[in-house]
Symmetry: C2
């Protein structure tokens, strides 16, 4: 058993990460590549990124030692229903020298598995988008949000960025001072915190700048909100509180009151030591005081654990989880 | 003077309307064509629609009798700065046989002028989008919102449609009954009010249907919200109240408390006998109890009045306004 290697991949919109790890928790290699989502990037380019990440993780590994693999992916269901996308992923897998099968899981399930070995619980993710899900027997059961920036993603990074610009435009319309957050947004979007003599000119320039880019890029402004909240900016503080309330409301759509199963918080906005993470922790502790609230860990390690736990000879998946999840990058 | 004719045009995103009218208020002809906004449709196609509407309005009019014209247009400022667009409009004007000059005004100013002859006041428009402005000496002074669906249009038809879908998705996520408004939205988007055995399948189908189309088409769902509110649907009622509050907040950014100048309410959502119009009237009356609150009239007639009022021999623009604005289609 100790020679057995598993491979986990965490495929996101902006980066793909791979991990090759032994069942003892020894990290043999890691890889990183660009966004590899076949839905948003196309099957062939996505598979190329997968291969790049895999090759890097397998540099010092004999691929015939790899016994199982798993890929976490937003829109995993769509890949399963997409023969061309699946075939491209299969080719990348085989080109990397791997002969074992691999499973494709939702990124939300992989985030959940990176935070706990318990087979039943909940996951709440806030990054560019936002999604919550109940997990039963390590499968996604009920899901809330994940509807994308136009129809959902309430409280997500996109939402924070969009609201920051909306608040700035409203302040400029009213002739108010844009405030600390407003100045940060102005600097980011217009290159300077200065407002034109006719504020409407600044408004027009901001609207043009944003609407020329893909809407989802508004999520890039989320760190400005998080940072401004940390320095006490009241607008940023209000947005953080509203985002936390929206995320808790999303979770409450699918997680019953009084549930004591673990709740894993994932995504860039909830795993770091951010103001939003702190408020969401407090908000969820208020609703589920008796549940363990855990941070998501390394998604690639979560995927590796999902791949490894059904291997013959694995008798204690919880201990295996502790070994793999302890291998933080 | 009584032989003098003026031409007014109201150019919108989905329709272009033209009116030829004498200074006595006799309507000599009207025309209607498709959307003619050069920014969204391109200069040449927009000018074609302008010409179609003009020719129809001038069918029974000797064009040499036309002494002045005015065009109301969303993004009028952009047309002034767009030589190709302006040249295409000039060609349409001349091809229609018109030799007099014409002015290009913001659609918000034209909506204002369709509702009052007073040179100072405010306009609040809610249609597909939403905008508010202060008018001084019949020129737009301060403006609020009008920032488009991604960054503004708070309380607009787009906003109502988007919120209706968001509320429906949240109900489906939670396993709740979609309610009357939800069933109307389901029927409109999915062809049936039925929810799949796995509600997530209905959610996925709805999200796909909406995201395959241009986002602005969400505004087409606004009448469903207005209708459902009229039948007492609580979700629709909440959305109408929120939209009215957002529109009033937009107006308050630029209109001082206690202002007694006229307030004109325009756009498809505020001129009809709709629930939203009633709530916005009540909301604005609460903030400005001593101001006349007036409905916008025929935009083409408003444009015609703006064109006519500076003609030599016009001594009483208010009486002229009463004659032209009385000529409802």
């Amino acid at each position: 058993m100790s020679g057995t290697v598993v491979v986990g991949l965490d495929v996101g919109g902006t980066s793909t990460r791979a991990l090759a790890v032994t069942l003892d928790g020894v990290r043999l290699g890691t890889g990183r590549a660009g966004g590899g989502n076949p839905t948003s990037h196309g099957a062939a380019p996505a598979a190329d990124e997968l291969l790049t990440a895999l090759r890097s993780a397998l540099t010092d590994v004999d691929p015939t030692r790899v016994r199982a693999g798993a890929v976490g992916l937003a829109g995993a269901g769509r890949l399963r229903a997409d023969p061309a996308g699946r075939a491209a992923f299969d080719r990348a897998w085989h080109t990397a020298g791997l002969r074992c099968p691999y499973a494709v899981h939702s990124d939300a399930l992989v985030a959940y598995a990176s935070g706990t070995a318990r087979s039943t619980g909940s996951i709440l993710v806030a990054g560019t988008g936002a999604i919550a899900a109940q997990v039963h027997d390590l499968r996604l059961d009920r899901v809330a949000d994940g509807h994308g920036w136009l129809l959902g993603d309430a409280g997500s990074g996109f939402w924070l960025g969009q609201q920051a610009v909306r608040r700035l435009l409203a302040a400029l319309d009213a002739g108010h001072d844009p405030g600390e957050l407003g100045r940060r947004v102005l600097t980011e979007l217009a290159g300077s915190a200065e407002v034109a003599a006719r504020p409407r000119d600044t408004v027009g320039a901001l609207v043009q700048t944003v609407t020329r880019r893909p809407p989802v890029e508004l999520a890039r402004l989320a760190p400005l909100v998080v940072d401004a909240a940390a320095t006490g900016d009241p607008t940023a503080g209000t947005l953080i509180a509203e985002a936390a309330a929206l995320l808790a409301a999303t979770l409450r759509r699918i997680r019953p009151p009084g549930d004591v199963s673990p709740l894993v918080l994932g995504g860039g906005l909830l795993t770091g030591d951010t103001a939003l993470a702190a408020v969401v922790r407090a908000e969820t502790r208020r609703h589920w005081p008796d549940a363990p609230i855990l941070p998501a860990g390394d998604g690639a390690a979560g995927a590796a654990w999902l791949a490894a736990r059904d291997l013959p000879g694995v008798t204690d998946p919880t201990a295996l989880h502790a070994r793999l999840a302890a291998t933080r990058p």
